[in-house]
C-alpha cells in the first residue's frame, strides 16, 4: 500500500510548552485514520503542521512524499481540509462562499458548486448568508469547501462538531464511501473514540503531544476489557466466597460484584454454580464489555502511570 501521509519525528514547542513531541505517523492510500486525543493533546497542532499552517520546531510532515512547506502549493491541488470550527465569509451566501473557494482552487467547472451542495444537502440554503447558518450547516459548508475538488487526501479536524446524530451518520457514510469507492485517504481527528471507531480503519491515540498507541479498528474489540457483573442477595459474603475460590481480581463496584478475572469472563456458569452451591440467590449475572471511552481513558491512564 502506498504511503500518502507521513510525519517524521515531528515536534512543535511554543516557548516552554511542548505541543507535539516526536510524532511519527504513516497513513496509506485509502485508509481512514482516526486521530484521537483529549482536548489539548496536540491533535490540531499536528493537523496544522500537516497543512503547513504551523511550522514544525523540528521534524517533517510529508504529503504524497512531498515536504509540506507554504511554497509547495502543488500538494494542495488534491488535498481538502477543515480545521476546527469552519468559518466562511459572513456576508456572502453559501453559494458565493463556495464559488470563491472554487476560484481559489482554480476549478473551471461552475457546476461543481451545485454538485457539492447537493451532496452535502445544503442546496436549499444556497442563497442564505453564511452568518445566518446553523452550526450544523456551517459544518456542512466547511466540508463542502474541503471536498468540492475531489481531493485524494482529506484532513479533517473534528468535522462532526455541531452536527446532529443524523448529520453525523450522513457524514460518516459519505467519508466511508469516499475511502472505499474512490480511494480517498482520510485523516480525521476526534476526541470521541466511539464515533471514530465506527469508520476509521486505524486509530492513533495522542496524549500530551505524544503518540501513545496505534491500533487497527478490528483489534479494538479484543483490546477492550470484559468483566463479569454479579448481584446476589448478599454481595459482601458472596465476594468472600469468590476470593476463597482464588478469583482475586474481583471487587465490589457500584453496589455490585465486578470480576475482571479471565476465567470468570470465559466461563460465567462456573461462578454461578459456586454461588448457588453456597446458597446465594443470584439476581444478576452478566458479561459486560468495557466501553470504548473507558478503553480510551484507560489507555491514557496506563501511559501516564509508566
Amino acid at each position: 500500500m502506498k504511503e500518502i501521509i507521513r510525519t517524521r519525528s515531528l515536534n512543535k514547542t511554543y516557548k516552554d510548552v511542548c505541543a507535539v513531541s516526536d510524532n511519527n505517523i504513516s497513513v496509506n492510500k485509502g485508509e481512514i485514520y482516526g486521530f484521537l486525543g483529549l482536548n489539548g493533546a496536540g491533535k490540531t497542532t499536528t493537523i496544522r503542521m500537516l497543512l503547513g499552517i504551523v511550522k514544525p520546531t523540528s521534524g517533517q510532515a510529508l504529503l504524497y512524499d512531498s515536504l509540506v512547506v507554504p511554497s509547495n502549493t502543488n500538494i494542495w491541488k488534491k488535498t481538502g481540509y477543515l480545521v476546527e470550527v469552519p468559518h466562511s465569509y459572513p456576508n456572502l451566501s453559501v453559494k458565493e462562499n463556495l464559488h470563491l473557494i472554487r476560484k481559489l482552487r482554480n476549478l473551471e467547472d461552475r457546476k461543481v458548486v451545485d454538485r457539492i451542495m447537493e451532496k452535502l444537502e445544503i442546496t436549499s440554503y444556497a442563497n442564505r448568508l453564511a452568518k445566518h447558518l446553523s452550526l450544523g450547516n456551517k459544518q456542512r459548508l466547511g466540508l463542502a469547501k474541503a471536498m468540492m475538488h475531489d481531493p485524494e487526501i482529506m484532513i479533517l479536524d473534528e468535522p462532526t462538531n455541531g452536527l446532529d446524530p443524523a448529520g453525523i451518520h450522513d457524514i460518516r457514510e459519505l467519508l466511508i464511501d469516499l475511502a472505499k469507492n474512490k480511494g480517498v485517504t482520510i485523516f480525521i481527528s476526534s476526541h470521541i473514540l466511539g464515533e471514530i471507531s465506527q469508520f476509521a480503519t486505524r486509530i492513533g491515540i495522542i496524549h500530551k503531544g505524544k503518540m501513545i498507541r496505534e491500533i487497527y479498528s478490528d483489534q479494538l474489540k479484543e483490546l477492550c476489557h470484559k468483566q463479569l457483573v454479579i448481584q446476589t442477595n448478599n454481595d459482601n459474603e458472596a465476594l468472600e466466597v469468590i476470593h476463597r475460590h482464588g478469583l482475586m481480581e474481583t471487587m465490589i463496584q457500584n453496589n455490585q460484584i465486578v470480576s475482571m478475572d479471565k476465567k470468570t469472563v470465559v466461563a460465567p456458569d462456573e461462578i454461578a454454580r459456586l454461588l448457588i452451591s453456597n446458597n446465594f440467590k443470584l439476581n444478576k449475572l452478566n458479561v459486560e464489555e468495557e466501553n470504548l471511552e473507558s478503553f480510551f481513558l484507560r489507555t491514557i491512564k496506563e501511559k501516564e502511570a509508566i
Binding site: L51, P70, T79, H87, N91, L92, L100, N106
Partner: protein
C-alpha cells in the same frame, strides 16, 4: 500571473454587501461637502451669524477662493488619507482574522504571496477610487457654491498636489499589512494608524516632518519654503524604504510565521 488574477477576483467577491465600502465612499463625499459648506460660510459670514453658525470658521481658509479651498482639500486628504487608507488596508488584511477565514487561504494551489499581492492591489485600487471620488466631489461642490478665483494654473497645481499626496499616503499602506498579520486582527492596526497620525503632527511641528514617514504626505501637501517644512530628497527615500520594508515584512510574515 494567473494566480494573482484569481486572487484579485476573489478579493473583489469578498467586498460584496460590504457596508465598509459604502461607508468609506460616503465619507469621501461627505468631507469635501463639509469643506464646501465651510467655504460657503466663509463667503457669506452674515448668513452664518444669522443662523448662529460657526462664523469664526471663516478664517479656516487662507483666502476665500479656489486656491484657499484647494489648499484645505489637500491638507485634509493628507491627514484623512492616512486614517482612511489605513482603515481600508486594515480591513482588507484584518478581516481574515476577525472572520476566522484565514485558514481557508493558507493551504491552496494559489500561493500565499499571490493572496498578499491581491490584497495590496485591492487596497490600493480602493484608496485610489476613494481619492478620485473626493477629488471630483470637491470640484462639484466648489462649482455649486460658486467659489471665485478659478484658473487653469490653480486647478492643475491642485490636481498634481492632490494625487501626489494620495500616492505618498498609499505607500504607507504596506506597513499596515504587516501590523494586521502580527496583531492578528484589525484593532491594533487602526490604533497604530491613529498613533502615527498624532506622532506625525507632533514631529511636523518641531520641523522633523520631512524625515518621519507618516508626516511626509502632510508636509508635502502644505509645503513651505522654511527649512523643516518642505520635503527634501531624503524624505522620498525614507518613504520608499518604509514602504518596501512593509511589503517585505508582510510577505515574510504570511509565508513564514505560524498562523
Amino acid at each position: 500571473m494567473n494566480n494573482l488574477i484569481i486572487a484579485i477576483q476573489t478579493e473583489i467577491m469578498k467586498l460584496r454587501r460590504s457596508w465598509i465600502v459604502t461607508t468609506t465612499f460616503g465619507l469621501f463625499i461627505f468631507i469635501p461637502a463639509m469643506m464646501g459648506l465651510l467655504m460657503f460660510i466663509a463667503q457669506n459670514p452674515h448668513m452664518a451669524e444669522k443662523l448662529g453658525l460657526i462664523g469664526a470658521k471663516a478664517k479656516f481658509f487662507s483666502e476665500n477662493s479656489w486656491l484657499g479651498y484647494f489648499e484645505i482639500i489637500n491638507q485634509v486628504v493628507a491627514v484623512m488619507g492616512i486614517i482612511a487608507f489605513g482603515f481600508v488596508t486594515s480591513w482588507v488584511f484584518g478581516r481574515e482574522y476577525i472572520e476566522n477565514t484565514l485558514t481557508d487561504l493558507l493551504s491552496l494551489p494559489v500561493s500565499r504571496s499571490s493572496i498578499i499581492s491581491a490584497k495590496f492591489v485591492i487596497a490600493t485600487i480602493w484608496c485610489i477610487a476613494l481619492s478620485i471620488v473626493m477629488y471630483l466631489s470637491a470640484l462639484v461642490f466648489g462649482r455649486i457654491i460658486n467659489i471665485p478665483g478659478w484658473s487653469y494654473e490653480v486647478f492643475i497645481g491642485f490636481s498634481q498636489n492632490f494625487f501626489i499626496t494620495v500616492l505618498l499616503t498609499i505607500m504607507l499602506n504596506t506597513v499596515i499589512g504587516y501590523v494586521c498579520g502580527k496583531s492578528r486582527g484589525i484593532i491594533a492596526p487602526i490604533g497604530f494608524v491613529l498613533f502615527m497620525v498624532v506622532m506625525a503632527q507632533l514631529i511636523a511641528m518641531v520641523g522633523w516632518g520631512p524625515y518621519f514617514p507618516w508626516a511626509i504626505p502632510g508636509v508635502f501637501s502644505v509645503s513651505d519654503s522654511e527649512s523643516g517644512f518642505h520635503l527634501v530628497p531624503m524624505s522620498y527615500i525614507i518613504l520608499l524604504l518604509t514602504s518596501l520594508a512593509g511589503i517585505g515584512a508582510t510577505y515574510n510574515y504570511w509565508n513564514n510565521a505560524d498562523q
